[in-house]
Amino acid sequence: MAGNYSNESMLDLYIFETSNLLEQLEHSILASEKSNHISKDDVNEIFRIMHTIKGSSAMMLFDNIASLAHSIEDLFYFIRENNPREVDCSALSDIVLEGVDFLKVELEKVKAKDPVDGDAQRLKETIADFLNKLKLQNSSAEKVSTSRKETKKNSVEDLKDIPEDIEEITEKIPEEKPRYYIAPNITEPPAALSKKNWYKAVIFYQDGCEMENIRAYTVIHNLKEIADKYIFTPEDIIENDLSAQVIKEQGFTVVLRTDKSYEEMHEFFMQTIFLRELKLEQIEDQEDEPVMNQYENALTPQIPVLQTVEKEEKAEKEGQPSSSSSAQQSIISVNVVKLDRLMDLVGEMVIAEAMVTQNPDLKGLQLDNFFKAARQLGKITGELQDMVMAIRMVPLSTTFHKMHRIVRDMSKKLNKEVRLEIIGEETEVDKNIIEHISDPLMHLIRNAIDHGIEAAAERVAAEKSKAGTITLEAKNAGSDVLIIVRDDGKGLNKEKILRRARQNGLLAKSEQEMSDREVFNLIFLPGFSTKENITEFSGRGVGMDVVSKNIQTVGGSVSVDSVEGTGTTITMKIPLTLAIIGGMNIKVGNSRYTIPTVSIRESFRPKESDIIRDPDGNEMIMVRGECYPVIRLHTLYKVKTEVTEFSQGIFIMVEDEEKSCCIFADELLGEQQVVVKALPYYIQNLKKDNELGGCTLLGDGNISLILDIQSITRLVKK
């Protein structure tokens, strides 16, 4: 059980880490594509990310993820080492992004606990092709790395033509380099030789795994079982401890002959403990001898030459993880449940503090020092409360940067030139809310590109710049955050919207009565889409109503504004946090209620003469020529109170969407940020028809019930 648990959390960590890395990767590849130049830092970063993903995936036994990550890593290893002059940035981005997509899909499978079975073979081939092309282009730059880096050759060699050759070679090698030769335990019948393949494997161990020479020996030991001939460098792994250093720097190289296939050998080597990198290649038989020679030559004499290069690289490598790990350590991920608990505790502390400082026993006492200390305590608890709130806040930047990808993909597919501008990405929002706005935002961006931005020719004809611009802006506005998606496209066509609304029977009012804004807001109705053709990205008419629904669930609202010909602006207003709302506390008898400030329009003391009573006894009030129904909270909730005359109490006019009404209460207690708590499940069960949105704790420890204005206004309708 304990084992299960730890594995579970390891998996969580893996998912968390990998998805973070993928986001980072996407971000840097998009950035480099934009500038059409891939910087050394980017290459290093991508290399490091891929390396980490490969390592952790292999550890979690997600082989396909690991192998794809490995081939991307190879690609960037080449770029990093050789620094090729001409890299087709766009093609490179395509490849990497495709890889990222694959990894994301696999990661989703991991999350859903489905078997991780995606086939990365095609992608890997694409990457290998690209790498080959790069190599051809940069063949001159390839001098140093040849010994370390060669293309994988997956092709199965045709061996039948040259059986004698092999025999000759197998004989030759031991003669030439007898000291490298270890006699196989089993003497193979010569007939089997024709099926033998030669492989060269270079094994790199993870940094800091220590005793590389012993580990290498283990590999050799295991090899005895499957290979009949093998040579390895450095050769004196057991006797000479210094060989560990060599292996560390240059890897452990084995050339072997076996009847196993490439895949089998690859699998064999991948099982090596602490494996960081493996380069396995099949050596073509006709070139067997030259390869061996070249490889010997390349290795032995070049060691001193390589050394310096390797050292530089080493330093670079060491520098990187240390800096990145220190950056990572400044952020920790915490379970939200713990945060909620912390928030509860701080809330309790605030109450406890009030209980101490406002203790009735202290009344009338002259306690200067006590109150001084109490004020200090009050200040600290206040700060603590603010900090706990701040912990839940997350900047919007990750969500915003995801949009880069969408813009890029769509503009490529639709052949439109679109630029995404991001303003105010550092704006912070409660974590729960961020999860809810990612999808709507995606819809809006897609819509803007598909429906908003015109084709290049059209834009030029309209005397606009060829590339369309989409601005994604976030800013604070009181206790709300505004997220604005603005495009400079063709704007909304009122006539078209009205026509479509008419066709679909979505019009509730006569057309003349509708304001521009009301017309535009029609696009948020379910089943509305003006785009004639359904494209891959949008046009199914589900987008916009999903947007508005999603935003509404987090207590926000969406509005559209548009000028035909110049663009559309969609504004999403979302609360900073779900857990805290601005509320007006009111008193009725001994009970306290809280009305969300967003729904309050005004509060006033009425004149008796403004009250109208209809024959059924319903009370209404006339305010500025409009009639509003009155709800007496004390009769609604059967609370005993002295204040029953309208002139003694206060009216609070509340509004929900289009409906308004006036709530009559004893008095206002003041406005306050309140932490919303759900009513106990037991109570919720008993109250089917619920006008209470929850409850909250007041500063003095009392509970205040939060009124759900929406259901109260609905009450009036009945």
Partner: protein
């Protein structure tokens, strides 16, 4: 691991046959100790409108909001003003915390299983649906409450009453 399980067993074992007893008028009731989380004095209760009268409202238990029900009213006994002796027994049943307002808390008793007899069924057993058993300790009698029914029964009866109403109308 093995130790943990042993501990669990131990805890289970020490809780076995133990009952917290409280008084309600002249009777002494008992509830299994494993349900009880804590006992607190009576607290200011926030009324929640439109609930059955025995649900007094909600209280703030160190930041946790829990409903409280008056066991007297629940058993259709006359309401009694709360005093210093009035206690709230906080019980935890299937993740639901709930406070029971009782006249006073007595003690924790061990009642062996063979001292508990099933309640007599009076007139079809409608009157003792909340009583799981009757425990005999010395010469006195403790009524053992069925906590699950205390909370769940109402919903059931609600349902059946609406059903029967439907049939009548």
């Amino acid at each position: 691991m093995a130790e943990m399980i042993a501990e669990d067993f131990l805890e289970e074992d020490t809780q076995k046959n133990k009952f917290l007893t409280f008084s309600l008028g002249n009777e002494i009731y008992g509830i299994e100790i494993k349900y009880v989380t804590e006992i607190i004095g009576i607290q200011p209760v926030t009324e929640v409108p439109e609930l059955p009268n025995y649900v007094r409202g909600i209280v703030n238990l160190r930041g946790k909001i829990i409903p409280v029900i008056d066991v007297r009213l629940r058993f259709k006994k006359p309401f009694m003003e709360y005093s210093d002796r009035t206690c709230v027994i906080v019980i935890d049943i299937q993740e639901i915390s709930i406070g029971l307002i009782v006249d006073s808390v007595c003690e924790v008793l061990v009642i062996p299983e063979d001292e508990i007899v099933p309640p007599p069924s009076v007139n079809g057993g409608a009157s003792n649906k909340y009583i799981k058993g009757i425990g005999k300790v010395d010469n006195s009698i403790k009524l053992i409450l069925d906590c699950d029914k205390l909370l769940k029964e109402e919903e059931l009866s609600n349902l059946t009453s609406t059903l029967s109403e439907g049939v009548i109308s």
